[in-house]
């Protein structure tokens, strides 16, 4: 049996269930049924354990985010699908709140942990950019390649959508309200719709297409009564 892996697994479950505040050497030791000093036979120090466990938790979260993005029925622009998508992301936030806290807490860290998280976030951003591009091209039947400046703008939009999800998760986490910010699904759904709106305006302008309006099939306003 690999004791080191056991220690890491316990740390990962603590983080996943309750977030950074509970990841202490005594909690890890209690769960493993060993003494506190005993865990240091398997790990160097708590910094090492925090880094390994946090990276694992954020990696899981990134995979879950990508799965939500890749759901086959997604069709951006049609209000109903965006409503479902908003709900799916808000469920992701609700079920993985401590993982979002880990991500939010360490993403600007100077060390290995911050660097690891930023790599994962960049993967998430690229996945969002891929979905944006695919959906937008389908809606506009646009087959021309994007120039470099347009690619960069697209990545910027994708990054800002990802950041929105992280910020909304923080607002929900910090709220004492049972229906934080008047409903998490509604806020995140609206923000994703806003991100899609901004992206569409920028891309159509860059590609010389007519500006979409809120009545178009590519940019239909979600039905707010559904949230």
């Amino acid at each position: 049996m690999n004791r080191r892996q056991d220690v890491i697994d316990v740390a990962v479950s603590l983080l996943r269930e309750s977030g950074p505040a509970v990841l202490t050497s005594s909690n890890v030791a209690t769960r493993l049924g060993v003494t506190q000093p005993a865990i240091y036979r398997h790990i160097r120090d708590m910094d090492e354990l925090t880094t390994l466990a946090s990276e694992a938790v954020v990696a899981e979260l990134t995979v879950a985010m990508m799965e939500a993005l890749a759901a086959p029925e997604t069709r951006w622009g049609d209000g109903t699908h965006l409503t479902q998508f908003g709900r799916r992301i808000s469920e992701l936030i609700a079920t993985r709140m401590p993982s979002f806290e880990v991500l939010d807490r360490w993403r600007f860290d100077d060390g290995e942990l911050g660097a690891g998280i930023r790599v994962l976030l960049a993967l998430g951003r690229d996945a969002i950019a891929g979905v944006l591009e695919e959906q937008w091209r389908r809606n506009f039947e646009y087959g021309e390649p994007f120039d470099d400046a347009t690619q960069r703008a697209q990545l910027a939009h994708a990054q800002l959508i990802e950041d929105d999800v992280i910020i909304v998760s923080r607002i929900i986490r910090e709220s004492t309200d049972p229906e934080p910010a008047g409903g998490a699904a509604r806020l995140i759904g609206l923000r994703i719709f806003g991100g899609w709106y901004a992206y569409n305006h920028d891309m159509t302008r860059r590609c010389g297409l007519p500006t979409p309006t809120l009545d178009d099939d590519t940019l239909r306003v979600p039905d707010l009564s559904d949230w």
Binding site: D148, A149, A156, H157, I167, L187, L190, F193, H201, D202
Partner: protein
């Protein structure tokens, strides 16, 4: 002119000890402004003051205290810049070009004050006075956005009654997300994303307009008002 050349005028002169402390804070603020959190070390502060590393601890308790005081200086400066941009008295939001000009000014300050934005990102989660100070600054920045949103909303929709509790919470959440969105754009401005200033100003403008559209949709629906019709002169588009 050396500070000792003329007798003090006005309030009593500060004692040299206080002066050294103020100097340490000013140097630390300068380090933060130009190099961000990584640049603020006791060695760097001591070097700038021309004293030994241990000598600075005669004037400050520890590096955390210095970081707290220095970050307050730079963050307060940034918040007043943002206040002057967001609450500019002559801003007419629906005027052609007003939004474009505002976004360019915002991008300029994100680039000029890149390290202050980085300082806020970096220290917003830390424990103690330092983190509390940064979080308070973020709150007051979000408060600025909330004021702008509410003022604009009341003008456009002609809604004059106070927001009920749930609507107030939603309003505040939109303001927080919008303010944080600005910080996310600032990260792009100082990253190696390769996106140029004008392109980023466009991204910011579309994001702000989109944020306003979603805010209007949300608030009108909550308050039982009819869905807003969008006439954006300032966006360069007309929905």
């Amino acid at each position: 002119m050396s500070p000792d050349a003329s007798p003090p005028a006005g309030p009593a002169r500060r004692r040299p000890r206080d002066e050294r402390r103020a100097q340490a804070i000013a140097q630390a603020a300068d380090l933060l402004r130009h190099g961000g959190p990584a640049a603020l070390t006791s060695v760097a502060v001591a070097e700038r003051m021309g004293v030994s590393q241990s000598a600075i601890y005669r004037h400050i308790k520890n590096i955390d205290e210095l970081a707290t005081l220095a970050s307050k200086v730079v963050v307060d400066d940034l918040i007043s810049v943002l206040r002057s941009i967001l609450l500019a008295p002559d801003i007419e939001w629906r005027e052609d070009g007003a939004m474009i000009r505002m976004c360019r000014s915002l991008i300029d300050s994100m680039i000029d004050q890149a390290q202050t934005f980085a300082t806020i990102d970096h220290w917003q989660n830390v424990d103690g006075d330092l983190g509390v100070g940064i979080r308070n600054a973020i709150e007051s920045g979000s408060g600025l956005v909330a004021i702008v949103l509410e003022t604009q909303y009341r003008q456009v929709v002609r809604h004059h009654t106070a927001f009920p509790t749930a609507e107030r919470a939603a309003h505040d959440a939109h303001a927080r997300v919008l303010f944080a969105d600005g910080f996310a754009v600032a990260r792009l401005a100082r990253s190696d994303s390769g996106i140029d200033r004008d392109a980023l100003a466009d991204v910011l403008r579309y994001r702000i307009v989109a944020g306003w559209v979603t805010y209007l949709l949300d608030m009108n629906h909550r308050l039982g008002l009819k869905a807003p019709r969008f006439k954006f002169r300032y966006d360069g588009t007309d929905d």
